[in-house]
Amino acid sequence: MTLLSIRDLSVCIGRLRPLDGISFNLDKGEILGVVGESGSGKSLTATSIMGLLPLIGGKVLKGSMYFDGIDLTTLDEASYRRLRGRRIALISQNPMTSLDPIVRIGAQIDQMASLHLGLSPQKARARSIELMEQMRIPQAATVYGQYPHQLSGGMKQRIVVAMALAADPDLIIADEPTTALDVTIQAQIVQILIDLVRERGLALMLITHDMGVVAQACDRVVVLYAGRVAESNSVEGIFAEPRHPYTRALIRCIPRGGQARGSLVGIPGVVPRVLDYPRGCRFNPRCDLAQPICYTETPPVHADGSAAVACHFSEVRAHV
């Protein structure tokens, strides 16, 4: 069942248009990976869904965003406030700045539950400790009374996840939740997120640049490039038969176990800045397959069921 549906979303900030015709669906009980390099528009997509565009001087230019039947593009701020944190929770990249340094851990989680669910202090406390235990936090009752600076980075990020869950949301948007963490801790957090979705049936939008994390965790994938969707498909489809040259290149950037030396290729050049988007396909300066048409015409989106690709030279075959 579709929980979040985004159709042809374009966002402008001043005269710039950093998001241009983004479309994807997210079902309940599903993990959607949103991938791309820095500057591809991943975080801005999250900002748009959270209704925080006005904070950065942006607005929705056209397109629609429906969350559980609610039209997010016309939602007023008061209604948005009841949605944010309560039904849509955000886990940000930096656990260090997501917690208030002078408030005890427990009080910060309690606050979410009592604010959104109206729980009594005793109930909120019991619930917070239960959530922390689900997050595999050892000695949760002790940690409940501690301050953020007493915890390691991995522990803080688990607390941030617990806070996101405190109001029992339907959708969690995790913006690079593991980038700042060590690999063993990253693996733990990713597993916690996967278990959450499987056990509670909520939906997770996982923003990441790491194709390894995508392969491990996601059901479906949207590949963004320079503010547009390059390709979206099931995770098997994306890795087994990538249609867009950018997707192919992105996957090739990560060495596989046993890959021969000297066979790793990067993508030449860098993601263009919003001001310098080229005409036609925005990937054309970095694409090894680019033809004259790629420099003049914006590639149409070939869609087939839940799969889509925007390239002049790819036919879509939805991978089952």
């Binding site: 390099e37 595999r136 693996a187 597993q191 194709m211 596989r256 030396r261 990067g266 993508i267």
Partner: protein, 324 residues
């Protein structure tokens, strides 16, 4: 013996480094042992990888290897010369042959310097006088070698992308045609597409110039791709030395690290088992095996007695009960 010695470009012998943290008029300083008793030979012309998580001492080890930091105990021998005994002039001469590429390309060039000035600086600090024409051709040669356009010479660092800046950092390190490069997480703060570009460049340079690399990284996947030997560190000590990229880990920590590295292939998904216990504080290390608190195989002996590195050549491991 002589054969092994000549194949070994750099050798660390019992390297230990302590830091005194804090401490003032009224409080004693705490001592942090970042690197403990590290013995390691870096073979000539090969890529030796050092992998571990933050706080394992890999960056400190990198700096000790080049004597950018002085060791608290132990010694570093580079091509039969003991670094600790060198006078400052001798050390400066030797620095032409051993160089470092740093993690953060964004601050690796002085913001007031143009790229040209930054590339001429290696010659200035080595007191090599270049004429204007020599400097120009050297700078062009260096930029071309790392795949940058010579037009960038008059740019300032803030006008370059992260990948371009890292290429400038590599060019600077190669100015005196060194034989040994320490690469301290050279791609960790770059996008994956740029990371792959830089790794490809480093591979090309290694083959082309016959360089010896000490490659520091937290990314076991990348290290397994790039390195001939893999050294795994945990809380200041070497716990395992894998002789090649496909060797099966024998230390439970290396196994955990490998299991935490996701491959870009959904058919190779795995369930991440729960790690109990927290990483011990580096100020207060346990007397037994430092990994015992998180290890699922740990026995009483592991908590009481620190495992020594096995002596056998090839695959070496510091564990009482290594995996098979």
């Amino acid at each position: 013996m002589s054969d092994a010695a000549s194949n070994c470009l750099l050798s660390m012998r019992g390297l230990t480094r302590e830091f005194r943290i804090g401490g003032g008029l009224f409080s004693p300083a705490k001592v942090l042992r970042a690197v403990s008793d590290v013995w390691l030979d870096v073979p000539r012309g090969r890529v030796t990888g050092i992998v571990g998580e933050s706080g394992c001492g890999k960056s400190t080890l990198a700096r000790l290897a080049l004597r950018l930091l002085d060791a608290t105990a132990g010694s570093v021998i580079f091509d039969d010369v003991e670094l600790g005994g060198l006078k400052s002039g001798e050390l400066r001469e030797l620095r032409r042959r051993m160089q470092m590429v740093f993690q953060d390309p964004y601050s690796s060039v002085d913001p007031r310097y143009t790229i040209r000035e930054a590339l001429v600086e290696p010659f200035r600090v080595q007191r090599i006088r270049l004429t204007a024409a020599e400097a120009k051709s050297r700078v062009e040669e260096m930029l071309t070698m790392v795949g940058l356009s010579p037009h960038l010479a008059s740019s300032y660092p803030h006008q370059l992308s992260g990948g371009q800046k890292q290429r400038v950092g590599i060019a600077r390190a190669l100015a005196h045609k060194p034989s040994f490069l320490v690469l301290d997480e050279p791609t960790a703060s770059l996008d994956v597409s740029i990371q792959a570009q830089i790794v490809a460049l480093l591979e090309y340079l290694q083959r082309d110039l016959g360089l010896t690399y000490l490659f520091i990284s937290h990314d076991l996947g990348l290290v397994r791709y790039f390195c001939d030997t893999i050294v795994v560190m945990y809380l200041g000590r070497i716990v395992e030395i894998l002789p090649n990229a496909v060797a099966k880990p024998r230390h439970p920590y290396t196994k955990t690290l490998l299991d935490s590295t996701f491959e870009p292939d959904p058919s190779k998904r795995r369930h991440i088992s729960r790690l109990s216990g927290e990483i011990p504080s580096a100020f207060d290390l346990p007397k037994g095996c430092a990994f015992a608190a998180r290890c699922s195989h740990a026995a009483d002996r592991c908590r009481q007695e620190r495992p020594e590195m096995s002596d056998a050549p090839g695959h070496r491991v510091a564990c009482h009960y290594p995996l098979n």
